[in-house]
């Protein structure tokens, strides 16, 4: 019995036979995937392979896309996130997202980082200040911005902006963080900081990162999933994928001998 309980709690996210379509275009073709809590999972694959679409299924960001349909279920903590009683806003507080290009709101740093609380109706000043400091510290940005919280977020550097976006996501205390190529627009130093951050955040969060940078995937992730033409070709421990991939397609892709 104890074993059964352990079994059901083993995975944070489970995808079951996901198919997705843009209109009649079949972009995800039957993907099953289990993701363990407190792990970093990297999604790799050529552009248009469906990895970003799959990522966005996890916080239902595809819902607004005209003509988008999907079949199959995604379970978060064993609950179907596409069930009719699920409030999508509630889901997104649980599953945060960081985008490819840093996208802070054109407001102050403080307003950015407390936005999530504001939309939940929290206005208590000390609560907001506490959360702002906590999440900025978590995102390793506090020391750099603590004296200019009132300054526009757009005045920050690209790397700082991206860490602000991470802090903003952390402020609402999600349990999963989706990152869509979070460092692709950043210089190597900022990239290193983001990667360091991912490594630290793993302690508390389940992280999924889409990346085109093979080295980044191999550096930060515990497990790697290789997508190709809407299919999950190979999914395994990162070490295994990068040292000894089982599928020739994976090998060709990661070693840059594609096509």
């Amino acid at each position: 019995m104890v074993n059964r309980v352990m079994e059901t709690n083993k995975f944070k996210i489970q995808a079951k036979d996901i198919h997705a379509y843009y209109g009649t275009h079949h972009v995800i073709k039957g993907i099953d995937m289990d993701i363990k809590p407190n792990s970093v999972t990297a999604f790799i694959g050529p552009s248009g392979c469906g990895k970003s679409t799959f990522l966005r299924l996890i916080n239902r960001m595809n819902d607004y896309i005209e003509g988008f349909t999907k079949t199959g279920d995604i379970l978060l903590d064993d609950k179907n996130i596409y069930a009719s009683n699920v409030q999508v806003e509630q889901l997104r507080k649980e599953v945060g997202m960081v985008f490819q290009k840093p996208n802070p709101f054109p407001k102050s740093i403080f307003e950015n980082v407390t936005y999530g609380l504001k939309i939940q109706g929290i206005t208590n000043k000390s609560d907001l200040e506490e959360t702002a400091e906590r999440s900025l510290r978590q995102a390793a940005l506090w020391e750099e911005v603590k004296d200019d919280l009132k300054k526009s977020a757009l005045a920050l550097s690209g790397g700082q902006q991206q860490r602000l976006c991470i802090a903003r996501t952390l402020a609402v205390e999600p349990s999963v963080i989706l990152m869509d190529e979070p460092a692709s627009a950043l210089d190597p130093i900022s990239t290193a900081k983001i990667e360091e951050l991912i490594f630290e955040l793993k302690e508390k969060y389940t992280i999924i990162i889409v990346t085109h940078n093979m080295q980044q995937a191999s550096r930060v992730s515990d497990r790697t999933a290789f997508f190709y033409m809407g299919e999950l070709i190979e999914y395994g421990k990162t070490k295994q994928i990068f040292l000894n991939p089982k599928k020739e397609k994976t090998e060709n892709y990661i070693s840059g001998r594609f096509g």
């Binding site: 093979m214 080295q215 191999s218 990068f242 040292l243 000894n244 089982k246 070693s255 840059g256 001998r257």
Partner: protein, 218 residues
């Protein structure tokens, strides 16, 4: 061609050259030792510098490939294996040189019966056969052939184990030959080590090529 393939090809050619060179050194050390050919011994010692410089070259190629191309998967396994194989080969080269050195230090030609009793010639031949196997398997990219090498290593170990007893008995009977017999003892020991390094080479090679085997099973 993918740029990394140029680098891999360079490493591949250099390692092939290294194998041939070390094999030749070992085989000459046999001739030199068995025939007490001091002239050949000098040549071996002279050629050792080539082995050393080739080792450095291979290291340089591997470092360059890692630094510039961040190899993954098969490429990564290849470079890592070659780095290790390279140092194993270099050690084998060292042993060939050591044996040549012993040839120059031995005062009197060792008695044929003693040589036969410790199976010196058989030992040399086994070690050389192992290197031939490596050369052949490597050149034809055949990891099955590499696996044949493990049986030979076992025989080498066996001969090595028995040698001390045989030599000790001989020395007790002929105490004046102790100086030369020690060199014989060391030579056998070196050849046993050659076997160990050859075995390492085979293992590293299989580590590199194993994924390919699995891949074809798909």
């Amino acid at each position: 061609m993918n740029p990394i393939e140029v680098e891999i090809e360079k490493i591949n050619d250099a390692v092939l050259e290294m194998i041939e060179l070390v094999k030749a050194q070992l085989s000459r050390s046999r001739d030199s030792f068995m025939n007490s050919d001091e002239e050949l011994a000098h040549q071996i010692i002279h050629t050792e510098t080539r082995v050393n410089s080739l080792e450095l070259t291979i290291d340089k190629y591997c470092e360059n490939t890692i630094a510039r191309f961040s190899p993954v998967a098969t490429d990564l396994r290849f470079v890592v294996s070659m780095l290790k194989i390279n140092s194993d080969l270099e050690r084998i080269g060292d042993y060939a040189e050591s044996i040549a050195d012993y040839v120059l230090n031995i005062n009197h030609k060792l008695e044929k019966t003693l040589m036969d009793n410790v199976r010196t010639d058989e030992m040399f031949n086994l070690a050389i056969e192992m290197l031939e196997l490596i050369a052949d398997a490597y050149a034809t990219d055949n990891s099955k052939k590499m696996k044949k090498l493990f049986a030979k290593d076992k025989v080498l170990n066996q001969i090595n184990k028995e040698k001390s007893q045989v030599i000790a008995e001989y020395v007790l009977a002929n105490p004046s030959t102790i100086h030369d017999c020690l060199y014989l003892h060391s030579t056998i020991k070196k050849l046993e080590r050659v076997g160990d390094h050859a075995k390492n080479i085979a293992e590293n090679y299989i580590f590199y090529s194993d994924a390919k085997v699995l891949k074809h099973k798909k």
